[in-house]
């Protein structure tokens, strides 16, 4: 049991830390700067703990805790590290962001901690209702964070849309869980798997229907087609650090649980290969189509997030349920997260007061005024576009390798075509930043270097991950 708790320590740390922060926030005297620092410390410690765990117990594939409701594997640990890293970076960007957009209250950081706690649970959860609750912890915290700026109509609208559709999707999840419970007699992954092995999957209508609804809920959370429409609006309405957080950490957590769910039985995975095949293709293409016409960076990034979900779905189609390590998915998520978070961190401080700079046109000539920021953004964009030697390239490389290894040549080709389609809107920002003359002076609150530092560190991470990918 000792060992188990050690493995869960990061999650517990974040959960308890979140409660602590919440309590601390009741004191008026504690400013949000201190809260931000504490949040960073919390995530930092948890991250290091997770890292230590990974290094110290590298070979334990499955460690069951809490009656088999939670499982720790290399994959969950890697996802956990990504989530904790995202939390850390978000705290750092938020620190600077709230200097220019003063609507922060101290609860902000506790909510981030709670949502991270939910995400960590989600990665490890091996039981549908635990998944549901973890999903809701995460989602509720994110809903609140999205609508945090109460004065802003757009933020309110975003939270309305997100909450309404999220709850709608949650309802599908519960119905799906119910049907799976009906079909398999249990909601625990191991028992579902055993039931499928014993009775088969194809003939079990309740399992098919149940897994359908559960997967729909997951697809909603990762904004796959046709459940993608909310994502641009919500990303645009949310404040920038939060957008970054939900674009990365949330996606990581959901993909982790999605993968865990799909690999629980070969029959289940096989049954969904065809469906996911089409969904991933449609997701990539629809994401690109949405992204092309966007003028706002956040919306473009939201749409590109849809495309990246499509790539990850390729990986899900291509996973081998027998020898699943999740390395490909975790790596891609890490690469994607670093890139996306980096841009959002940069936007957090470049956006200025009331996020006045959010459109492509607003960033004309950035390179002439702030060359380092422009360079960092360029690196992130190149990583997202998959240009070597960035992390995004290796991510794409692994995805396509896994697709071709699994015999999904068509999927690989569609993935490539989709990246060609996506090139324009990534390059467009680079072109705007570099090849136009500056009209804006890009003055920002320069005393608080936290977000710039975060941006630079992430830019380095892009190369670090790209050149030395630690595949678990």
């Amino acid at each position: 049991m000792n060992n188990d708790f050690l493995l869960l320590m990061p999650m517990l740390l974040v959960g308890i830390g979140g409660i602590g922060l919440m309590i601390a926030s009741t004191y008026e005297s504690i400013t949000h700067e201190r809260m931000a620092i504490s949040g960073m410390g919390l995530f930092g410690v948890a991250f290091l703990f997770q890292l230590g765990n990974t290094v110290a117990h590298p070979t334990i594939p499955y460690e069951q805790v809490f009656n088999g409701m939670l499982v720790v594997s290399d994959f969950t640990r890697a996802s956990g590290m990504i989530i904790l890293g995202c939390g850390l970076a978000t705290c750092m960007s938020a620190y600077t962001y709230f200097k220019q957009n003063p609507f922060c209250t101290s609860e902000f950081y506790s909510l981030i901690a709670f949502s991270a706690c939910g995400m960590l649970l989600l990665t490890m959860a091996q039981e549908l209702i635990s998944v549901f609750i973890a999903l809701e912890i995460m989602s509720l915290a994110i809903y609140i964070l999205v609508g945090y700026n109460r004065q802003s109509q757009t933020a309110t609208e975003a939270v309305l849309k997100y909450l309404m559709l999220g709850a709608f999707a949650g309802a599908f999840f519960t119905m799906g869980a119910a049907l799976i419970y009906g079909g398999a007699g249990s909601t625990k992954f191991t028992e579902i798997s055993a039931s499928i092995s014993a009775n088969g999957y194809a003939g079990n209508a309740a399992l098919i229907g149940g897994s359908f609804l559960v997967i729909v809920a997951f697809l909603f959370k990762v904004a796959a087609f046709p459940f993608h429409a909310w994502v641009t609006d919500v990303y645009e309405g949310a404040s920038t650090p939060i957008t970054g957080f939900m674009a990365t950490a949330l996606k990581t957590a959901v993909f982790a649980v999605f993968a865990n769910f799909l690999v629980l039985n070969n029959g289940l995975h096989e049954g969904w290969i065809n469906g996911l095949f089409y969904i991933s293709i449609l997701t990539m293409f629809v994401g690109n189509l949405v992204a092309i016409g966007q003028e706002s960076l956040k919306r473009m990034l939201a749409a590109s997030g849809i495309v990246h979900s499509g790539y990850l779905l390729i990986a899900l189609v291509a996973i081998n349920t027998e020898q699943f390590t999740g390395g490909v998915i975790a790596y891609y998520l890490a690469a994607y997260s670093v890139g996306t978070l980096g841009i959002f961190a940069a936007l957090s401080y470049l956006g200025g007061e009331d996020e006045k700079r959010m459109n492509f046109a607003d960033f004309k000539g950035l390179a002439k005024v702030r060359p380092y920021s422009a360079a960092a953004i360029t690196i992130f964009l190149l990583s997202m576009a998959g240009i070597p030697p960035t992390a995004g390239f290796m991510g794409k490389f692994y995805i396509i390798t896994s697709a071709i290894s699994a015999g999904q040549i068509a999927l690989a080709v569609f993935g490539i075509i989709s990246s060609i389609l996506s090139m324009w809107y990534y390059l467009r920002l680079i072109v705007n930043m570099y090849f136009h003359d500056a009209v804006d002076t890009f003055e920002t609150d320069t005393c608080h270097k936290m977000a710039p530092v975060c941006t630079m560190v992430l830019a380095l991470c892009v190369f670090a991950i790209g050149l030395y990918p630690i595949i678990i």
Partner: protein, 98 residues
């Protein structure tokens, strides 16, 4: 006989969906979602009866808790919306689009 309970559950679930997609009133929409959760709960309990295991009951309890939390949050959002626009129409909120 469990089938009939399940069918009731499905019917309620569908009515809930219908409420979500056909109504613009925020309250109605949220209550429709609650209805869907209840439908799921009914399914849990029915299956629990089918399998003669009480796990379903526990699951239903959990769902209720989640529903409660969600409802609390939803109501908070409704209040926020009302403060902004004084309306409960979801269509009023379409600043973000394109």
């Amino acid at each position: 006989m469990i089938h009939s309970y399940l069918m009731v559950s499905v019917i309620l679930f569908c009515i809930g969906m219908l409420g979500v997609i056909s109504r613009r009133n925020v309250f109605t929409v949220f209550m429709s979602i609650e209805l869907m959760l209840n439908a799921a709960n009914l399914a849990f309990v029915a299956f629990s009866r089918l399998h003669e295991s009480m796990d379903g009951h526990v699951l239903a309890l959990m769902v209720m808790a989640v529903a409660a939390a969600e409802a609390a949050l939803a109501l908070a959002v409704v209040i926020l919306l009302h403060k902004h626009k004084g309306k409960l129409d979801t269509n009023v909120f379409s600043l973000l689009k394109g």
